[in-house]
């Protein structure tokens, strides 16, 4: 194929990023940082996305480990189910979450009796993020763990390791690049979550207003502020990507 054919997409992908960089001024950035909308949103975004990431890794690793080794129709069915949130639009996820945990939802009565009200709270932000981001981690971790030679695990076991120790000391280190990549992807996805959060957690400043929602709100009052917040969030995401690509390369070349 002609080398020229690769330019349209690359230009198309690069232009908006360039535009964002070129149109924002340092003064705008500084002003945005001091704006009452920004601080709480940054803190909330970092806090909720990191909590989500921790929950995803802690609950996702056992699932990935099982999926990596299980054969048969059950495991394939579960694998498809876990991937479902990747293809389902976030807005649909938001409605589905309301149907599950909302006041009129499936578990609404039960939760209300326990005195728990989930929608429109910070916990709801985390729930929405876990829901949309977890599949990315499980997918990548499963692929990585599936690539671990079963003979390595058998060797570890014959050397006295319990199944648990064989997982932590042999399988996980062997699958580390894929597990880390999955974690970074899931974190980036949680950080950028918008649709499901808006529907299930709302857009309450200081409580459920994460950075993407703050950008959405700022757009209505101050384009410069929205621009600066977008640059900030974009920078964070870029840092994740950089960490994802550069750190493993550094480790490979000691």
């Amino acid at each position: 194929m002609s080398a020229l054919l690769r330019w349209p997409l690359l230009a198309f992908l690069g232009l908006p990023v360039l535009a964002l960089l070129l149109t924002s001024t340092p003064g705008e950035l500084a002003a945005a940082w001091r704006h009452p909308l920004a601080g709480p949103a940054v803190v909330l975004s970092l806090r909720t996305s990191l909590v989500s990431l921790a929950l995803i890794v802690a609950t996702g690793l056992p699932v990935a480990w099982w999926l990596a080794r299980a054969r048969g129709p059950w495991a394939r069915a579960v694998e498809t189910l876990v991937e479902l949130p990747v293809v389902i639009p976030p807005a649909v996820v938001g409605v589905a979450l309301l149907q599950a945990y909302g006041r009129q939802g499936l578990l609404g009565d039960g939760l209300a009796r326990l005195g728990v009200q989930l929608p429109f709270t910070e916990a709801a932000v985390v729930v929405a993020q876990v829901m949309v981001a977890a599949p990315f981690f499980v997918q990548s971790a499963t692929a990585g763990l599936r690539g671990v030679d079963p003979d390595l695990l058998l060797v570890a076991r014959t050397l006295g390791a319990s199944p648990t120790r064989a997982f932590w000391r042999v399988a996980l280190p062997a699958a580390r690049p894929a597990v880390l990549a999955g974690a970074a992807l899931a974190w980036a996805r949680a950080l950028g979550e918008f649709g499901a959060t808006l529907l299930f957690a709302g857009n309450l400043s200081g409580r459920t207003q994460t950075m993407p929602l703050a950008i959405f709100s700022a757009l209505e009052v101050d384009l410069g502020l929205a621009r600066a917040l977008a640059l900030l969030l974009g920078g964070l995401a870029f840092a994740v990507l950089l960490g994802l690509r550069v750190l493993p390369a550094l480790r490979r070349a000691p």
Binding site: P150, D151, T158, L159, S162, R169
Partner: protein, 235 residues
Amino acid sequence: MSGWHIRLQGQLGALAVDVDLRTPSPRVVLVGPNGAGKSTVLRAVAGAPLPLRGRVEVARRVLQDDGAAVRLPPEARRVGYLPQGYGLFAHLSAQANVAFGLTGPQAAERALAALARVGAAHLAPRRPPTLSGGEQQRVALARALAIEPVALLLDEPLAALDVGARRTLRASLAADLDGAGRPALLVTHDPRDVRAFGGVVAVVEGGRITQLGPWEALRTQPASPFVAELLGEDA
């Protein structure tokens, strides 16, 4: 009896396994065409979770006896297993690989001593990906021997080596096996290995043992075209 008693039956994918291997010889060399089930036998003896029922006994230790509902997990079998490609942990140094199977104080020192016994002490700080095939085999052997196993399982321990290294390591591996004085089950496809390792030869074809005996006995009466062909290579 210091030998082996392996009776395993079951279906593994397309392969119907029906192995009956009884010999007083502590050393058994498995030969056979690809996909005949040689590696499967080794994995089953090591304790891999395979759908194979029966009995595995070595040197009077029962590792599996489904009739009596006995199936020791791999960590309780005390067998030293070298899979094809040696199965070293790439993220650990050679010394840490050997120390993996050791517990208690001085695990690191004992690992170093185990490496020294197979002439590989100088490899201690190296990572497996930086080692040659022969060096990896030394480290894997040290790791398997360090746990003082009741038996050794070696799957194609020389296949990954180039011709020169093969010749040298064949001799030293045979010497190590003699020195270790432990029952060993080996898989190979090279008649020169068979002769160097000694012991009894078991021919595995289509999931079954089709011939069992010393190399010389196979020579005089090859029971199958595969054996005849293998003998033909032994020039």
